[in-house]
Amino acid sequence: MRQITFSQATLEAMAEEMRRDENIFVMGEDIARQGGVFGQFKGLSDEFGDRIMDTPISETAIIGAAVGAAMAGMRPVADMHFADFMGVAMDELFNQMAKIRYMFGGQTTVPMIVRAPDGLSSCAAAQHSQSIEAWFMNIPGIKVVAPSNPADAKGLLKSALRDDNPVIYFENKILYREKGEVSEEEFLVPIGKANIVREGTDITIISYSIGMKKAYEVADKLEKQGIHAEIIDLRTLVPYDKEAILKSVKKTHRLAIIHEAVKQGGAGSEIAAFVAENAIEYLDAPIMRFGAPFVPVPFSPPLEKAYRLDSDKIVEEILEKF
């Protein structure tokens, strides 16, 4: 099968869906003329003209306009440049975008996508390196997706573009350059369905987005110790695939959750609590969460390195529980 990058995969998804549905348009900073900071919009304006719009530097305006357009029947895509900037438009995101369909008793829907490049890159410091998906897991009314590979990036983006609810699409900055097999035929990846990417018997490792790279590393290292890890790529955080998680944990009796985001109050906390509530009798070891320490992302290269997940340390900690 052909290999394309994550970035190309999102471009394909956009182009295919924009051809299919003329109500889709894109707003953001430096996306039309420049093609996006990570090239994720490159060439779209050649085909779709003013459906790709450069905006002033105001996240509040971008989200506010998108919510209005969505209520008026359009399917806007709002690019946030960096996920870190979503804070500027927080009222528009969590009070308006998330609540309007509910507040108006379903008289209107808000079919829009917020695209949010997130995660550590290289010395981008505390305000340009964050993973904030957990914030939105606590706000009813928003779907949250976080693909880990080009195929899912395309399939999930296409599903999001067809969804009648607001979807936040977290796309990891490092993953943009990653290549992977993507079918040339059209396909969708459903929102809310996890992917068991590797079957195993001894421990379930759950991750998503960039965390999946660590999940594979850890599983490979465990395999050398004779431990067969089952890896679940969650793909979607809201809603998350409870059935797949329970089924796997009941099989392996151990659970580790890995994400690049801060461990405290992270997505892993929700999953851990869910498993403890529903399947504690199947657990043969404490649930293990692996995430960033509870500090702002440091700028200093050595400190940033220390901040990152280390698969050796994760393996060590997992082995202690056997």
């Binding site: 009796h253 009798e281 199947y282 657990l283 043969d284 529980k321």
Partner: protein, 434 residues
């Protein structure tokens, strides 16, 4: 006031003791004379009383654990006494410091040790497995993280235990009614209906009554089984004409009674043995793989039935004793054994044993050797019997002797010779002054 409780030395040979039971819980108040704990040595069990009043602050050696003599096993102190220095010296505090050092991220505070120790650390899945498979989690050895029982431990435990699938209700019913699940298990999960069916089939569910065996019974059982399994024992029987010995006893009895001493046939036979065992070194010996150990002295044991079982105190260096001394010492040991006052030293170091079942009418039996001894003499009932003397049938008081020897050291001919010589002296007790 602070009182350190040490493992008592109950007799000269005791090096360690096992705590069977603490009668007082940590934090409870004890008065002088209250039962404090029960300790078991390889010979016997003793209840130890408190000699200080105060609060039992710490139990350092738990039930089932063993400690050396003079080791610190607990502390009695007043409510506000600071016992930390004692604990530091005993290594307890140091252990706790190490625990803290290794505990992860600071906010997690460990439970106090005494609360944790009563809780069985097992993962939820291990508990679920144990319940499903009918395994008592208390009997599972933990090998998991931080001393936790994990599923794998339960699976390993299962190898040693018969795998019984049973519903929780059925298990409870079986426990209440004293039904042994292992006996009725056929491979399919036991349900409530199965238990009810058993009850219907055997309506008298009180046919059995379970009682936990005493420590003494467990020791006896263990020693008997070990001897039985590991010793080639042969029992030899020979009858003795008691006429002369009865005469001897009748004549001495009256004399001894003036001094308040009771003379029995046991004493006379012991006197005979004390003489013969010096001569028959093989019978007053032990055998340890490839070494024959001859004992310098004859420490003659006598089996005494006590309330809970059997004790065998021995009369030390009996070969130096007169019959009178033997009578006095033997009766004292029997009395002490029955009133639980016996010093453990009298229970160890025996070299030969006698056991008398004559008073129960027994005429012959196969006594089991009291290891590491190599022989035991069973004494039976004296009965008037027709015997042939000088080609005439006469009636004589006869007594059978049952000698069991360890054939790995003592051959049949030697055993027979020894027994024959005993009989000769019984029939002609004047030889005692020979």
């Amino acid at each position: 006031m602070i009182k350190e409780i040490l493992m008592p030395k109950l007799g000269l040979t005791m090096v360690e003791g096992k705590i069977i039971q603490w009668f007082v819980k940590e934090g409870e108040f004890v008065n002088v004379g209250d039962k404090l704990f029960e300790v078991e040595t390889d010979k016997l069990t003793n209840e130890i009383m408190a000699d200080t009043e105060g609060i039992l602050k710490n139990i350092l050696v738990n039930e089932g654990e063993t400690a050396e003599v003079k080791a610190l096993i607990g502390i009695i102190a007043g409510e506000n006494d600071d016992i930390s220095s004692i604990l530091t010296n005993s290594g307890v505090e140091i252990q706790q410091l190490i625990d803290i050092e290794f505990s992860e991220e600071t906010p997690i505070t460990e439970q106090p040790e005494n609360i944790e120790s009563s809780y069985i650390k097992a993962t939820p899945y291990a508990k679920k497995l144990a319940e499903e498979r009918g395994i008592d989690i208390n009997n599972v050895t933990a090998t998991g993280y931080r001393g936790t029982i994990v599923a794998n431990d339960v699976e390993n435990a299962e190898i040693n235990e018969i795998k019984i699938k049973v519903t929780p209700t059925a298990r409870k019913m079986a426990e209440d009614k004293g039904i042994n699940l292992a006996e009725i298990y056929t491979g399919t999960k036991i349900k409530k209906a199965d238990i009810l069916a058993i009850e219907e089939k055997y309506p008298q569910d009180n046919e059995f009554e379970n009682e936990k065996a005493s420590s003494m019974r467990k020791i006896i059982a263990q020693r008997m089984k070990n001897t039985w399994a590991g010793t080639p024992m042969v029992t030899f029987n020979m009858e003795a004409d008691m006429t002369e010995t009865i005469n001897l006893r009748e004549k001495l009895k009256a004399v001894y009674e003036r001094d308040g001493i009771r003379l029995t046939y046991n004493h006379i036979i012991m006197k005979i043995l004390s003489k013969l065992l010096v001569k028959y070194r093989y019978l007053n010996a032990s055998f340890d793989n490839d070494t024959i150990i001859y004992h310098k002295h004859v420490n003659l044991g006598i089996a005494v039935d006590v309330e809970k079982g059997l004790m065998v105190p021995n009369v030390k260096e009996i070969e130096k004793m007169t019959l009178r001394e033997i009578a006095v010492q033997t009766e004292k040991l029997i009395e002490d054994a029955r009133t639980n006052k016996l010093s453990p030293d009298y229970l160890s170091g025996g070299t030969f044993t006698i056991t008398n079942l004559g008073m129960f009418g027994i005429e012959s039996f196969s006594p089991i050797i009291n290891k590491p001894e190599v022989a035991i003499l069973g004494i039976n009932k004296i009965a008037e019997k027709p015997v042939v003397v000088n080609k005439e049938i006469v009636i004589r008081p006869m007594m059978n002797l049952s000698l069991t020897t360890d054939h790995s050291l003592v051959d049949g001919a030697l055993s027979a010779k020894f027994l024959k010589e005993i009989v000769e002296i019984i029939e002609n007790p004047y030889l005692l002054i020979d």
